[in-house]
């Protein structure tokens, strides 16, 4: 009786177990429903249970992998895709997803291996040829990339995707003619097919090519075409860079801000930071670039042909420039009182240390990046990076600069002027830097001119060079008023004062002290100051009317143009005369240079 009971019990038990195992279809439906309802925990649980009950079915792994991929959890996605592959799924979709996921994880070598594997199994896949070519480009294996894409083009004809990839590879190989030829093929095809988005990307790439080869007008034209086709962030970035080269800061900032709205990469933030740094707004620059540095979502690199080291190298360079500039700003800042002075010393020390830290990081990354280029036999970029890493060591720097120059001027003769500029900077030669001023395009390459000027000014020392120095500073100021203080010099200023008290002229001894303090602070900020009218090179005049109400009128005059550039009434802070004068000069500095 007992045995019979147990037997019956076991039967019911068996039945209930049988009832608990659902069909694969049920699991799939439930998982899809859960995903739809955003109940991901349920979805994952259902799919894992399904995998447990049907270990041979790869469909559940794929569903789970797709869910992870969609949520950018690439490591988990890769695991599931690989599980599906190990279960015998060698479908085009699965292998392609594996290759792409490797790419997203910046594991380029493994991605290439999978793309090759796909080509072996599915030799008719044009898309894979394209992807493989792109991965070769991304990992600096340009020759291999060229070969594989050419092979595909032979097979499939002038496909626009292939043509664009090939154009990019040729651009990397500094083959201007071929790069342009293939970009134009891809654009023509896209326009024919009315694929505006694709055409926009191709125009953008073409504009980069033109920019790299110093064809600025064409670059602007193609950038405009790119934006006309589709309003994408890269187009605005490219146009902003062209405006920046002209020193059209407003235009550049407007473009970068337009890009920022739709940009999923940190590139627009980087460009904004660079622009702020160049215009002397170093705190803003620092904020933007530190924000980029703190963000670690780097999967965007998959589409941008860059890698971690190059990305961090650029970031540290900007930060180093910012902190080095901040040192000079702080050193030139008028300070009165012991506590502000101690604070200022502390800040100088802090900025110096941080500047040094980021410069060293930049140099270390330059070496790593250079070595990566060298491995891929990209000598031009490798030598350039080695040059940047060794700027402090004259002989070594010059060695790599000459090596890079030897290669690049054969490709783009105009690049000579940029090499001359670098040589002038390294050799601290005013003569060489002066030569570059003639070589730059006066409209499109103002950025280069500014760089030469600001490198040359500290070298123009002594009385014999005083007039030239003043003129160079005036010229630099006319291009970019933010490029002075951060490099440790200010405008030569002709100053005039009027001190009154209750409407009458103030007593001499008090006004003399004010005058002395103001001049001292102006000099501290890096300005050469004179009270003598008509001295050569003093284009700008600063007039200060100190009224008895402690309201000060400041007038900044461009004598050459005979115009008042700025005029402002200032109410001073503090009670001590020294504090007031420091405050006044600080405000004047903000008025003239608009930095901070």
């Amino acid at each position: 009786m007992v045995y019979l009971f147990l037997f019956l019990l076991s039967l019911t038990g068996a039945e209930s177990v049988y009832a608990e195992i659902k069909s694969p279809g049920w699991y799939e439906t439930e998982a899809r429903k859960a995903i739809e309802a955003k109940n991901y925990e349920n979805a994952v649980t259902v799919l894992k249970e399904a995998e447990k009950n049907y270990p041979e079915v790869h469909k559940f792994n794929l569903l789970l992998a797709d869910l992870y991929y969609d949520k950018k959890l690439f490591k988990l996605a890769l695991e599931e895709y690989k599980k599906a592959e190990n279960k015998g799924d060698e479908s085009y979709y699965t292998l392609n997803q594996i290759a792409r996921t490797f790419g997203k994880l910046n594991r380029d070598a493994e991605s290439i291996t999978y793309f090759k594997k796909i080509l072996k199994i599915y030799p008719d896949s044009m898309e894979i040829y394209d992807d493989l070519g792109w991965m070769y480009f991304k990992s600096h294996q340009l020759k291999k990339g060229e070969a594989i894409v050419l092979k595909a083009m032979k097979r499939y004809g002038n496909n626009r995707a292939l043509a664009m990839t090939l154009g990019t590879i040729y651009s990397g190989l500094y083959n201007y003619e071929k790069a342009k030829e293939y970009y134009l093929i891809s654009i023509k095809s896209a326009l024919k097919e009315k694929d505006d988005y694709f055409a926009s990307i191709a125009y953008y790439n073409l504009s980069l090519l033109e920019h790299n080869f110093y064809h600025f007008n064409s670059a602007l034209k193609y950038t405009n075409d790119s934006i006309r086709m589709a309003d994408r962030a890269p187009g605005h970035l490219s146009r902003g860079e062209l405006y920046q080269a002209q020193m059209n800061f407003k235009g550049a900032m407007a473009e970068y801000r337009a890009a920022l709205e739709s940009d999923r990469t940190p590139l627009s933030k980087i460009n904004i930071a660079i622009l702020y740094q160049k215009t002397g707004r170093l705190d803003s620059a620092r904020r933007y670039i530190e924000n980029v540095l703190s963000s670690r979502d780097l999967s965007w690199m998959f589409y941008y042909g860059t890698d971690l080291e190059r990305h961090f190298k650029d970031i540290h360079e900007i930060l180093a420039d910012c902190y080095e500039g901040l040192v000079n700003l702080e050193l030139g800042k008028p300070v009165a009182g012991i506590i502000p002075k101690i604070k200022s010393i502390f800040l100088v020390l802090k900025y110096r240390l941080l500047g040094y830290y980021h410069r060293q990081k930049f140099r270390s990354y330059s070496i790593s990046v250079g070595k990566a280029y060298l491995n891929e036999k990209d000598y031009l970029d490798a030598y350039w990076e080695f040059y940047k890493a060794n700027e402090k060591y004259r002989d070594i720097a010059l060695k790599y600069l000459y090596l890079a120059r030897g290669i690049e001027i054969k490709i783009t003769p105009h690049s000579e002027v940029y090499y001359l500029q670098e040589e002038g900077k390294i050799k601290k030669s005013v003569k060489l830097l002066n030569e570059t001023l003639k070589g730059f395009d006066g409209f499109w390459e103002r950025e280069g001119i500014v760089e030469s000027l600001r490198s040359m000014i500290p070298l123009l020392k002594g009385r014999s060079n005083a007039v030239e120095r003043r003129e160079r500073i005036n010229r630099l100021y006319s291009y970019n008023r933010g490029a002075l203080l951060q490099y440790g010099f200010g405008l030569p200023l002709e100053v005039g004062f009027r001190f009154t008290k209750a409407g009458a002229v103030e007593k001499d001894f008090r006004s003399a002290r004010k005058k002395r303090l103001i001049i001292r602070f102006l000099k501290k900020s890096g300005s050469e100051v004179t009270e003598t009218a008509g001295e050569k090179g003093f284009r700008y005049r600063l007039f200060i009317q100190w009224n008895d109400s402690e309201n000060i009128l400041v007038r900044f005059i461009d004598k050459k143009k005979s115009i008042v550039v700025y005029e402002k009434k200032i109410k001073l802070k503090g009670k001590r005369l020294k504090v007031q004068c420091a405050d006044l000069v600080n405000r004047i500095i903000n008025l003239i240079y608009k930095v901070g």
Partner: protein, 715 residues
């Protein structure tokens, strides 16, 4: 060791003493440099991606060797300093010459980069090199400098960790390692002080003892910087518990706060979400000076605030229109004991954490979350009873009442009034982390009537008090807000800057309903970066870890497993123990001091009890009595013999003469008998009585805790 010294001295073995002094000197030298290297290593940990530790170590060793050499050669300080400044540059120049030679022999990238690679480590090593040399040379040259060095080291230690004083120690993989390092550091310094020979500045030895508690006090200062700075830098509402965050159980209005973006926890909730509020505390108590605080009423009426050891089911208050919501919490940098949940939690299930987990604590909560619509709230007639009177205290602030009445003018319903206040604050005020300083000290008035800008606490205070002034029961809640846009696979990351305060208003049988009056409009000049720190790969890594260990997320069983000698279990226990100790550092550090001082002061008494012969027992009694006197500041002068000292003590009222005679007898008399021992005991009792008569209990306690002179009694 000191006892040994004395014994040796009495026997007149000068040679042996000198040998011992040399050994002692060597020990001090080694210990000092271990401490210095410890500090150097801690500095290195903060810049390890920039400097090579081997280079740093070599420069440290070089500095030590040069200090020894200069000292031995008798070089004066200034010339020695000049030489030491020249040394690095000589090294650099000669290295560069070698590199140049290498370049010409084997040109290539490797030889080209030698210059850069050398400088990369050379410059950062210069400062530690000079400091190491300076400290070593000065300590070797001037004996008393060792005492200054202890103070200098303490300051270095503080500086090293000052950078880390942003709530938690990140340079160590685990807080217990940090605690252990600091304890070892303090011990090493104590030993250095004890055995160092400070020459004619001997009296300074006593004062340097102050340095030891000073180190502790300064560390306290660092930690109190944590506490004081917590509100300002931790998200406005949180306090640190040494290494973790937690909320403070009171909120004050600060004139300025900063927000930290540290990742605090991960939160999982299924389905679509709108703005989620995760509650830590409700704060109902209010007083004008103290602000809102967690009161006894809160303790009694609101859910528990700590995560239980096992599953607990709380009493469901039975509020209407509520739905079940399951949540999971994964703590990363938050006090593991703290319970956070959506309003109203009814069940808490602590979950098993897996080995090598990134999470401090994992638990699941089932909450009954309101699903009531505004329309339904409109129908609520309003609170009429008296039982919630406690939630209506608004400090009788007439200005606030007048403003509340003005805002709710024409609003006839209970909900209408509450909503009007919420909307008014949201629309007319701006969000700012720098609300400014109120001239009259009333920050809330400054916010409401002058600056019109503040952070979440200001808005919550204002709304809660305005509601209360109208007779509407309201309270402040603190916790985190969760941005639904930051969701990945139902996971949400919560950072310290998401700490938030809001208001809960009583709606009778619908329960306490949340209102968030904080404005979304930023005040001009604010530069907030909420959400911009989203670190996707880190977040993704944590999610991946959870999903991989999903199967292990089971409820913790109450039965505690007996210790089976399992090393991992033991390790975990040890880790948990250290974590616990680190959390209650404010108790641990004083306790540590108490143990230490008790060891020093009661050492001789202990020796008396365990000593095998009567001579030793008398010696220990004598020394124990001396320790007491020395603690009271009655110290034997350098020129005074023991008997002269005893006579002086007698004159002061301490009956020490007999005991001294007994002690000398025990040392020098060949036939020291049991009768002599009994007399010594009697003499001790007499001395003890005279001591106790002179100093009342409290003073005796102070004398006991006083570290000054503690070791002089051994000399």
């Amino acid at each position: 060791m000191m006892i040994l010294t004395v014994t040796v001295k009495y026997r007149g073995e000068r040679q042996k003493l000198e040998g011992y002094s040399a050994g002692k000197k060597f020990t001090v030298f080694v210990l000092r440099n271990i401490v210095l290297y410890f500090l150097l290593f801690n500095i290195f940990l903060q810049v390890k991606d920039q400097v090579d530790i081997s280079f740093l170590s070599v420069s440290f060793l070089l500095a030590v060797v040069l200090a020894l050499w200069f000292e031995k050669s008798g070089l004066r300080f200034l010339p020695a300093l000049l030489v030491i400044i020249a040394v690095p540059f000589i090294i650099r120049v000669s290295s560069f010459l070698i590199f140049r030679a290498d370049q010409s022999i084997s040109p290539g990238i490797i030889s080209d980069f030698l210059f850069f690679n050398f400088d990369k480590d050379f410059y950062p090593s210069l400062v530690p090199f000079l400091i190491t040399w300076l400290l070593n040379f000065t300590a070797l040259r001037y004996k008393s400098f060792i005492l200054v060095e202890v103070a200098v080291n303490s300051i270095f230690l503080l500086l090293v960790f000052w950078r880390q004083a942003h709530f938690r120690i990140t340079i160590y993989p685990h807080p217990s390692l940090f605690a252990a390092s600091v304890i070892l550091f303090v011990f090493a310094e104590i030993i250095i002080i004890l055995i160092s020979d400070t020459g004619k500045f001997k009296p300074l030895l006593s004062y340097t003892w102050v340095l030891v508690p000073l180190v502790l006090i300064l560390l306290f200062f660092v930690f109190s910087k944590y506490s004081e700075g917590a509100v300002k830098t931790g998200g406005g509402l949180m306090k640190p518990t040494l290494f973790r965050f937690d909320f403070s159980n009171y909120i004050k209005l600060e004139s300025e706060i900063e927000v930290s973006d540290d990742l605090v926890l991960l939160f999982r909730k299924q389905g679509r979400s709108e703005r989620i509020l995760l509650r830590r505390f409700v704060l109902s108590g209010y007083s004008t000076g103290r602000g809102f605080y967690r009161s006894d009423e809160d303790e009694r009426s609101s859910p528990p605030v700590t995560v239980p050891d096992t599953v607990i089911v709380m009493k469901d208050p039975g509020y209407k229109d509520r739905t079940d919501v399951k949540q999971e919490f994964f703590f990363i940098n938050f006090d593991p004991a703290s319970l956070i949940a959506m309003n109203y939690p009814v069940k808490v299930t602590p979950l098993v954490n897996w080995d090598s987990s990134s999470f401090l604590r994992i638990y699941r909560v089932n909450s009954r979350v309101t699903s009531v619509l505004a329309m339904e709230l409109q129908d609520y007639p309003g609170y009429k009873g008296k039982s919630l009177k406690y939630y209506m205290d608004y400090g009788n602030d007439d200005d606030i009442k007048r403003l509340a009445e003005k805002i709710t003018e024409g609003k006839n319903t209970y909900y209408g009034k509450v909503k009007a206040i919420e909307t008014y604050l949201k629309k007319n005020y701006l969000y700012s982390l720098k609300p400014g300083i109120a001239e009259d000290g009333n920050q809330l008035h400054h916010f409401l009537f002058k600056s019109k800008k503040g952070y979440c606490s200001y808005f919550a205070f204002a709304m809660a008090l305005m509601c209360r002034s109208l007779g509407i029961p309201a309270r402040v809640a603190v916790g985190f807000f969760v941005n639904p846009d930051m969701e990945v696979l139902n996971f949400y990351e919560v950072r310290a800057n998401q700490a938030h305060a809001w208001v809960e208003v009583n709606f009778g049988d619908l329960g306490w309903i949340e209102f968030d009056p904080t404005s979304d409009n930023l005040a001009p000049g604010e530069n907030l970066r909420f959400g911009t720190e989203f670190d996707f790969p880190k977040f993704a890594g944590l999610i991946e870890e959870i999903l991989k260990n999903q199967d292990k997320l089971k409820a913790v069983q109450k039965t505690s497993a007996p210790f089976k000698g399992d090393i991992t279990l033991f390790g975990k226990g040890l880790k948990a123990g250290f974590e616990f100790l680190a959390r209650i550092w404010y108790l641990v550090l004083p306790a540590f001091y108490l143990i230490f001082i008790s060891f020093i002061k009661l050492f001789y008494l202990f020796g008396f009890f365990i000593a095998g012969n009567i001579r030793a027992k008398v010696k220990f009694l004598y020394r124990y009595s001396l320790a007491k006197l020395y603690g009271a500041g009655v110290v034997r002068k350098g020129t005074e013999s023991r008997m002269e000292y005893a006579v002086r003590l007698e004159k002061m009222g301490f009956r020490m003469l007999k005991l001294t005679k007994s002690y000398l007898g025990s040392v020098f008399n060949d036939d020291f008998s049991g009768i002599d021992y009994a007399e010594a005991l009697e003499a001790y009792r007499s001395m003890r009585d005279s001591f106790n008569k002179r100093y009342p209990v409290i003073l005796r306690a102070v004398i006991f805790l006083n570290p000054l002179n503690s070791f002089r009694s051994k000399i």
